[in-house]
Symmetry: C2
Subunit: 225 residues, 2 copies
Amino acid sequence: MLKDDIFTGMITLTEENYLKALYRLSLETEEISVKDIADSLDIKMSTVNSMIKRLAEKKLLRYEKYKAIELTEKGKKMALHILRKHRLTELFLSKVMGLGWEEVHDIAEQIEHIQSDLFFDRIDEMLGHPKFDPHGEPIPDANGKLPVFKATQLSEGVINKKYKLTGVLNHETAFLKFLDSVGLSIGSVIVIKDIQDFDRSMSVLLNNKSKTIFSQTVCENLLVV
Amino acid sequence: MLKDDIFTGMITLTEENYLKALYRLSLETEEISVKDIADSLDIKMSTVNSMIKRLAEKKLLRYEKYKAIELTEKGKKMALHILRKHRLTELFLSKVMGLGWEEVHDIAEQIEHIQSDLFFDRIDEMLGHPKFDPHGEPIPDANGKLPVFKATQLSEGVINKKYKLTGVLNHETAFLKFLDSVGLSIGSVIVIKDIQDFDRSMSVLLNNKSKTIFSQTVCENLLVV
DNA sequence: TTAAATTGTTAGATTAGTCTAACTTTTTAG
DNA sequence: CTAAAAAGTTAGACTAATCTAACAATTTAA
C-alpha cells in the first residue's frame, strides 16, 4: 500500500491544485519560482518546497535546488485535463443550468476534481464539444490537446470573413443584456460588412439576418474564431 | 486557527461520510455499534473509535464507552443535507444528463460533497422539486425535513385512486424499456381500474389515456404516491 | 563589490485520517 | 457460570499537507 499512488498514477486533490497553478503560471512567466506558486496558492514557500519535491518524484515536474520549476509532459497533460474539466463545468453551469457567470467559478473549482470521464464527456456532448469558454480561453480536448488557435477580438477582424462568437471579455450585466437585445449568443455568426475609419465602428451582419453597427468598444469585447 | 471548525461548523469530507453512514445505519438497526460503522465504511474499528470521539466533541453524535452511538439532531440534520444532495444529484445525472442509473451512484458520491446551496437549489428547481428519488427513497427538503409519506408499491394500491409514479424498484434495462414502451415515466398518473384475484394483476389507466394490464411483478416494482 | 533584501531550504511541529498491535470489556455458547 | 469469541479501546506509528523558525543562497542596489 505504501507509495501506491506512484504506481497507479493517482493524484490527490491538493496535487491537482498545484498542477493547475503550475500550468497557469507557465503561461504568464518564463521561469516559475517557488514564490510564484506560494503566492498563487496562498501558502508558505516551505510548504511549496516540500510539495514540489513530491511532485518531482512522481515525474510531474522537473526540479533542482534554486532552479526554475517546469512541468513535465505528464504533468502538463494532467494539468490540461483538470483545466478541461474546469472550463467545461463553467460553461455547463452557465449555459445548461443558467447560473450567473460570477457564480460559476467557485462551484467549478470543486467540480473539476470529480473523477469520471463519463460525466465530463456527457457535459462536453451536451455543450456541443465547445472549443472555447466564454472568456475566449481554449478548452483542451479529451486527449489534453489545445486547439491551435485562440479566439481573437472581433475588432481585429477583416471584412467579409465569417466569424463565430465564442465568448466575451466584458461580463457586466449591461453588456450581456445588450448582446441579448441584438440577438447575439455563443455560436452566433458575425460578418463584418464595413469598418469606419474615423471611430473603428463596424457594420455587421448577424446570423445572416439582421444588420447593425457595433462600436469599437463592443467589437473589442467580442471573442470570435 | 486551531479548532476553527468547531466554531464555524465546517466539516471535512471524511466526517460527512461518517455522518451519512451513521444515518443509513440508524434506519437499519436499533443500536449502532463501532463495528457497524467500520464494516459499512470498510475501515478499522480503531479508526472509527477515534473519529467518533471527534464527532462527539463537535456535538454531531452522542457517545459513551461501550454504548451504542446516536446522531444528535445537529448530526442528523447534516446527514440529511448530504443525503438530499446525493439523491438530487442522482436524479439530475439520470434525468437531465441522461446517464444510466447504474452509472450515477459513483458520481453522486463525489458531487454530494460540493458546497454550494445555489448549485443544488438550481438542480432541485430543474427537477421540479422532486419528493422521491427513482428508488422510491424520499428526498429531504432544503430544511432537512423528510416528506411524511414514503412511496409505496402500486401492488398495495386500491381501485380508482389516483397514483403518481415516483420511482421503480427494478432498474434492469429490460424493465425500464418496458415502462418506456407503455409510455410510463416519473410523474405519470396511474389509476387502478380492476384487480384480478387469481394472479393479482391489475387493469390500469395511464395518464388518463391508455388502458393496459400490469402483472403482479410489474406492480410490485412501481413506486407510487 | 559588498551589504541588504529577497528568495529558497531545512528541521521540526501540528492536524486529519488511517493503520497495527496489545489489551480490556461485553456477549455468547457450552 | 465461566471460558472463548466478539467487540471495543488505547497506544503508538505513518502519510499528506500544512505551519513556524532558523539558516543558506541568490539577487539587487548603493
